[in-house]
Amino acid sequence: MTSDMHLPPAFTTQRSARGILQWLNAPERRGPLLVAPAILTLFLVNILPLLWSFGLSFFNYRANRQAAPRFDGLDNYGDLLTDDRVWERFVTTGMIVAGSVGLQLIIGFGLALLFAKKFPLRRILLMLVLTPMMLSFVSVGIFFKLFYDPSLGLLSWIVGQFTGEPFAILATPAGAISAIVIADAWMWSPFVMLLVLAGLVSVPDYLYEAAHVDRASGWRRFRTITLPYVKGLILLALLFRTIETFKTFDLVYLITAGGPGSATETVAVYAYRLGFQNFRTSEASALAYLILFVVIVLTSLYLYLVNRRDAEAAS
């Protein structure tokens, strides 16, 4: 009887345990099977809390109040969008992201080209360049704050050798922002180098040999062979560094605490102040989702640009 009921094979009664395994092992189920554990972990530990705080952003919940949260709809978002302090912080963060990620790409790529060739002591020197990335934000923040100190810091001492006076880089908004950008770029350029290097190393030698035989100039070799190979990985580096730098918190909090005035206060620091110092938990969540929205727009822009260039190149 069961045979003509068109039940999916897996659920017919006679199916034995071995059958289930077979069913699971079928190629078209292979994809979900392999992806499931990763997605499950992400969902339980990451996405669930995200949804929770997303829900929170529509209320007026204050962490330090016993009062039941009141549904405010989009008020939080409305207040944030009309608050020019928030726009100011987004602009500051934008500057830091543009400056730092830009610098990281240039330095990272340069370092990668430098280390793509085999040469004596290469592995030890590569280790030296990778170490900044291995430090914690706390240690880099604390030490760079000392480096930037106009009386006790190395930067002021070095500059002082030429100008004769102490150099206070953190005194002006522009100086403070560049101080943050330098610290972040110095710390994370090796990340970009790591990715680009992984790409450079996978370029087959005979392509370069062919280019040499064809007497192509360094630039044409780079544009024709190297770039296409590492383009994917550069995008990945750009994507990840933009996401991480947009969340800059420790460096700003430790080096300038957002000063002078609010010149270097990033949206992440402002969200922290809202959520943790002013106890406006809902507003902080709303701001976080504004950040999420901006970063999503930015990253999809990258992906769109690259895919379009790919499609164009392939057509």
């Binding site: 994809g31 979900p32 099977l33 392999l34 992806v35 554990p37 990763a38 997605i39 972990t41 992400l42 339980l44 530990v45 990451n46 996405i47 809390p49 995200l50 929770w52 705080s53 430098l114 793509a116 060739k117 040469f119 004596p120 002591l121 592995r123 590569l126 280790m127 030296l128 990778l130 170490t131 900044p132 990335m133 291995m134 430090l135 914690s136 604390i142 760079f144 000392l146 001492w157 110095w186 790591l194 990715l195 992984a198 190393v201 996978s202 087959p204 030698d205 392509l207 040499h212 990985l233 990945l236 990840f240 969340k247 918190f249 420790d250 922290y272 959520g275 969540s285 976080a288 999420l292």
Partner: protein, 286 residues
């Protein structure tokens, strides 16, 4: 008489890379140097390159002197063990889950493959501060707060997005012909994955492991909030050297940084040859 092949540099290259490498390494070198200095030397201007080194700071990391002067061991060694265990476990877990998921995303794309990938990416976009309270509540409800499993699962989920995206880009770059020919010789999908595919993405695996380790090894805010006194990690201990009766205990902080840097340096150095070994062994490229 001879000339160098295009991808070999001589000592000249070493000089150039060496100079740039040292400039880049200088701040880290200064931190490590500070670990051997007394406080006065550490903050001295003009900066002291040559000084009488002291191991006092390293002793201070592992032993406290009580008011009566005798030495009592601190929990520092416990923090190092915790850090190694938590980081190690979460990196491995993220690598395994991430690589399998990445292979599936690359070779067995699901409907809406890109949206899944993008959602995975978005979990990294929120500033961690904002999800602290929800994660705190989640951990308390599930009894995970203060436990090793809790923090390891959390760190695994932090590492997954990068692992998946990175490994997928490497799997996409691979040449399918080699896999197909291996399949034609009758090897099972699993054998193809293990013997043919994985060796080719060694560089990717190495890069992912290095980055995931660095991200987890130095994670601070969740370690501060979610670990109990027994499962606390080194970054939290690092923060204790700040804000005491003296602004920053520069010596003790540098000593901890130096000690804390060594495991990551060793792992990266070991993984380096995987990283730098090209994958070109005769496969026909696109």
């Amino acid at each position: 008489m001879t000339f160098r092949k295009h991808n070999e540099g001589g000592w000249g290259q070493t000089l150039v890379s060496g100079a740039i490498g040292l400039i880049y390494f200088a701040p880290v070198f200064w931190m490590v140097l500070t670990a051997f200095k007394t406080r006065q030397d550490a903050l001295a201007i003009p900066p002291k390159l040559f000084f009488t080194p002291t191991l006092e700071n390293f002793r201070a990391v592992f032993f406290d002197t009580t008011s009566s002067g005798e030495l009592v061991a601190t929990d520092a060694w416990l923090y190092f063990v915790n850090s190694a265990f938590i980081a190690g476990a979460s990196v491995l877990l993220a690598l395994i889950l991430g690589t399998l998921a990445a292979y599936a995303f690359s070779r067995y794309p699901l409907r809406g493959n890109d949206t899944y990938l993008f959602i995975i990416l978005t979990t990294r976009m929120l500033p961690p501060i904002v999800v602290i309270i929800p994660i705190f509540l989640l951990f308390r409800l599930t009894g995970l707060s203060g436990t090793y499993i809790g923090i390891i699962l959390l760190y695994t989920s932090f590492n997954l997005p990068f692992s998946i995206w990175m490994m997928k880009s490497f799997f996409d770059d691979l040449d399918r012909e080699v896999e197909d020919s291996a399949r034609m010789d009758g090897s099972s999908d699993w054998a193809v994955f293990r013997r043919i595919v994985l060796p080719q993405v060694a560089a990717g695996l190495a890069a992912t492991m290095v980055f995931a380790l660095i991200l987890t090894w130095n994670e601070f805010i969740f370690a501060l909030l979610l670990t109990g006194t027994e499962s606390r990690t080194v970054p939290v201990a690092l923060a204790s050297t700040v804000g005491g009766s003296v602004g920053v205990e520069w010596g003790k902080l540098s000593a901890m940084i130096t000690l804390f840097l060594i495991p990551v340096v060793i792992v990266t150095f070991v993984l380096q040859n995987q990283l730098l070994r090209g994958v070109t062994f005769g496969t026909i490229r696109r």
